[in-house]
């Protein structure tokens, strides 16, 4: 089977000052297979990918492509070898159009003049092939929602005539329908002999699409060539974490019938985004919003939070109406929002972890405006321990953390705050299995303490498992509201898809 081998990386070491991110990683990929890369947050997956695409230079180790040892001195070198990537952090140029982003770096051109019609047409063809012909090729990418941007990244990877495509958590921002679509594309690619390296924290996806699995732990390969379908889940988790984790949702507590309504949303409307949204959340209750990407869930949360101004409708907290379009009003009333896009909406990338965590609760650690750093760090430390943020220590700049660990930092910020109402938008995006169960437990505990929680997640399982009541959204409208126990995944998906069939 050696002639089948496309890529072999062996003994890859990559050291950042003070951190050994990769410590002897081996990976081999065959033509036409989907090779899954598993590992906890911070295990080194993204770093390995960046070495493979020439974005990082390894300190040692060899890379063999098609039987030849290569040195990938720059992204261009990797591209020329037919290695394309969808990076974990969206790497698009917000002000360029969709088409321009798809063909960034290799735009159709003649004598240096870009052939815009050709670019647009080709981009449209690619998008259509991805099942997203509706994404306007001429729109600035920055104006697209996260999922749309992810599609553009995919189109870009496909635009290169690649023999190996690396996908770093492409499904993190996708809903079930989109994931199915993605898999269709992947199958199409592999049938043509293209190899795919697939990274995800959702084990069921691995089962569905993967052929073989390599597991990374603390920057080293701990298992390779595992069969993606046969290896037991418990075994994978053990390999990744070194312990066994029960991947289940914590038990719901009964909400006392006397629990007061804390958040009351009435007839909220923003034309073009969502209309006539009404729901109420009682103290201790978790309400989940399910729906496809683009169904307007994030917009609802942001509107409740005052980050967007509602056209009509009202938001009341503890019986007091909030002034629309004013974040301050919401914050004062005890509303917190853990936003969807951690990088642009939540994180201060150059700041230390603990400063990111305490930024919304600064007053608590200050006397007369002077901050007590010790107290801040202690509080942050406690949370990062609970969430297993790696590397440990609260003084690293957030920028240097892995994606999943950054997400944990965002969450920690809002867990620290004593909110009356907590709005969680995709709280587990990119978070590994172990930390995920920690987060579920924490969210449950908060609810048990009387916080009203609204949860948005693209993983229907998560919404159903965690929420007490579910609101199913389709195209900006609530199509179903009811207790979570009375509805199952298939019913939700049916509800959600109904419209798209029309």
């Amino acid at each position: 089977m050696t002639n089948d081998e496309l890529l072999r990386m062996s003994g890859i070491v990559k050291e950042f000052p003070g951190v050994r991110a990769l410590d002897g990683v081996d990976l081999d990929v065959r033509r036409g297979e989907v090779h899954c890369l598993l590992g906890q947050n911070g295990a080194g997956k993204s770093t390995l990918i960046r070495v493979l695409t020439g974005a990082h230079q390894p300190d040692s180790g060899t890379i063999v492509v098609n039987g030849h040892e290569v040195r990938l001195a720059s992204p261009t070198a990797a591209i020329n070898l037919g290695i394309a990537a969808i990076y974990q952090e969206l790497d698009l140029v917000p002000d360029l159009t969709v088409a321009e982003n798809v063909f960034l770096g290799h735009e159709p051109a003649r004598f240096g003049f870009s052939r815009r019609h050709e670019t647009t047409a080709k981009a449209r063809a690619l998008l259509t092939g991805l099942g997203h012909g509706e994404i306007p090729a001429g729109r600035a990418v920055g104006l697209l929602p996260a999922a749309g941007q992810q599609v553009v990244s995919m189109a870009r990877a496909l635009s290169r005539d690649a023999q190996l495509i690396v996908m770093d958590e492409p499904s993190a921002v996708l809903d079930p329908e989109e994931v199915a679509n993605l898999f269709r594309v992947i199958r199409d690619l592999t049938s043509r002999g293209v190899a795919v390296v697939y990274i995800s924290h959702r084990l069921e996806e691995i089962r569905e699409i993967g052929d073989r699995v390599t597991v990374l732990k603390d920057g080293a390969t701990v298992a390779t060539g595992l069969d993606a379908r046969e290896t037991p889940t418990a075994e994978l988790i053990r390999l990744m974490t070194g312990r066994s984790i029960e991947y289940v949702f914590p038990r719901r507590a009964e909400i006392p019938t006397t629990a007061p309504t804390v958040l009351d949303v009435q007839d909220l409307t923003r034309p073009g985004e969502f209309a006539d949204i009404s729901f109420a959340v009682r103290a201790g209750e978790i309400v989940g919003l399910a729906g496809l990407v683009g169904s307007g869930r994030s917009e609802i949360l942001e509107t409740v939070y005052g980050a967007r101004k509602a056209a009509t409708g009202s938001v009341t907290v503890d019986g007091v109406p909030l002034k629309p379009g004013r974040v301050q009003a919401a914050v004062r009333a005890g509303v917190g929002l853990a936003p969807e896009e951690r990088k642009s909406q939540a994180l201060l990338l150059d700041e230390a972890v603990y400063k990111n965590i305490t930024v919304s609760t600064m007053q608590r650690f200050a006397s007369g405006g002077f901050l007590r750093g010790r107290a801040e760090k202690d509080a942050a430390e406690e949370l990062t321990k609970a969430l297993d943020v790696r590397p440990a220590g609260v003084e690293h700049p957030v920028r240097n953390l892995s994606g999943g660990n950054q997400q944990k930092v965002v969450l920690a910020r809002w867990l620290l705050r004593d909110c009356r109402v907590l709005l969680l938008d995709e709280p587990t995006r990119g978070v590994d299995v172990g930390a995920r169960s920690e987060i579920y437990a924490l969210v449950r505990k908060l609810a048990a303490n009387g916080v009203a929680i609204v949860l948005v997640s693209s993983e229907v399982e998560e919404v159903l498992g965690l929420a007490d009541r579910v609101v199913v959204m389709r195209e900006g409208r609530a199509v179903h509201t009811g207790p979570a126990q009375e509805i199952d995944e298939h019913r939700v998906l049916d509800l959600v898809m109904e419209g798209s069939a029309v």
Partner: protein
């Protein structure tokens, strides 16, 4: 006109402090129906620059009302254009640098150095023997060389653009003074003045030069891969690098381009003044950046417009012209200028926002 549509949001979004407060409220709005053809270009182009157009028109109205007989004459229009030409060319180069995420404080000094170098006795002697083209190429070369140094320092030396070009500002002006011995060097090569001082189709050669540079700049920025890369480098340098764009080399190219523009501006200034001098181009950095920014190019990079820059330049020069015609007290001119700049920007914002909201 897809990329016009793409960039037709309110272009004067503050890029600082309160900037991204707008990010989430970005209108997702249905893509403004693929406008095609000239009408589309006009519509979207106008939409984006509506505020600038209105500001310029208002300014002209003021000019016509307060000094109608002189303001609205062909000669006066040419006067405004001639004034706009020199700083205009510099501003085109600056647009590229800023769009690419940089800044160039040394433009004025480069103009001075290029003008001095191109008018030394030696150069003029050679030019007299051979052709004035020698002086022109000297100026262009000097400009490009300074730009190259800027670019290398920034791209490979990793010196922040502000500091690198500030250093170049000091060094180039100092060098200009040393070369010229702080004397104004008079151009004696008559053919040079004859050519650049002349007119073509009733329009001064200088104005033609500005028009050509602006047109080339527009094409380069909006219709070539070079332009795409400039947006990419300025908008997200890391993404550009990962996409295989040679970010460092491109950065160098941008500064060389800016330097080249300064060389051209130096030639124009030499033609206008018949001199080369180390005092030429004073405060051009501020003027050019102001024109670029008021035109809607984002100081933080990634978004730039040549048309906006041209409007920016025209607004500032027309302002000066109207002031001169109206004999406002000099100090009052300063105050009025401040007010008008703010009003123009506010206008531009409101109108641009309205034009792009369905």
């Amino acid at each position: 006109m897809s990329e016009d549509v793409a960039r037709s949001e309110p272009s004067a979004t503050p890029e600082s402090g309160t900037a991204s407060t707008q990010a989430t409220t970005r209108q997702p709005g249905a893509a403004p129906g693929r406008a095609s053809g000239v009408a589309g270009l006009l519509r979207t182009g106008m939409g984006r620059n509506l505020g600038l157009v209105v500001a310029l028109v208002l300014l002209c109205l003021v000019g016509v009302i307060t000094a109608g007989d002189t303001f609205a004459t062909g000669a006066n229009v040419l006067t405004i254009l001639r004034l706009a030409a020199v700083i205009g060319v510099v501003s085109i180069g600056m647009t590229f640098v800023i769009t690419g995420g940089g800044i160039d404080l040394s433009v004025g000094a480069m103009v001075a150095l290029a003008s001095v170098w191109a008018t030394t006795l030696a150069t003029q002697q050679m030019a007299a023997d051979f052709h004035w083209i020698l002086m022109v190429s000297t100026a262009l070369l000097v400009g490009a060389a300074c730009g190259l140094v800027n670019g290398l320092l920034i791209a490979y030396g990793k010196v922040v653009p502000f500091i690198a070009t500030l250093a170049m500002l000091a060094a180039a002006r100092g060098l200009a003074e040393i070369i010229s011995d702080r004397k104004t060097q008079i151009i004696t090569v008559n053919s040079f003045g004859d050519f650049f001082g002349g007119s073509f189709l009733g329009v001064p050669v200088l104005v033609w030069m500005f028009v050509i540079v602006a047109a080339l700049g527009w094409v380069l920025l909006n219709r070539t891969t070079f332009g795409r890369r400039t947006f990419a480098v300025g908008g997200n340098a890391e993404a550009a690098r990962l996409a295989g764009i040679k970010v460092q080399r491109h950065t160098v190219a941008l500064y060389v381009l800016a330097g080249l523009c300064c060389g051209i501006a130096a030639v124009m200034l030499m033609a206008r003044t018949t001199t080369g001098s180390s005092t030429h181009g004073q405060l051009y950095e501020l003027d050019a950046i102001a024109a670029v920014v008021i035109g809607g190019t984002l100081l933080s990079g990634g978004r730039g417009t040549i048309v906006g820059t041209v409007f920016g330049v025209l607004i500032f020069t027309t302002l000066n012209n109207v002031f001169t015609l109206n004999n406002l007290s000099i100090s009052a001119q300063s105050v009025a200028k401040g007010l008008i700049i703010v009003i123009a920007v506010l206008l531009q914002q409101r109108l641009a926002a309205r034009a792009t909201t369905p």
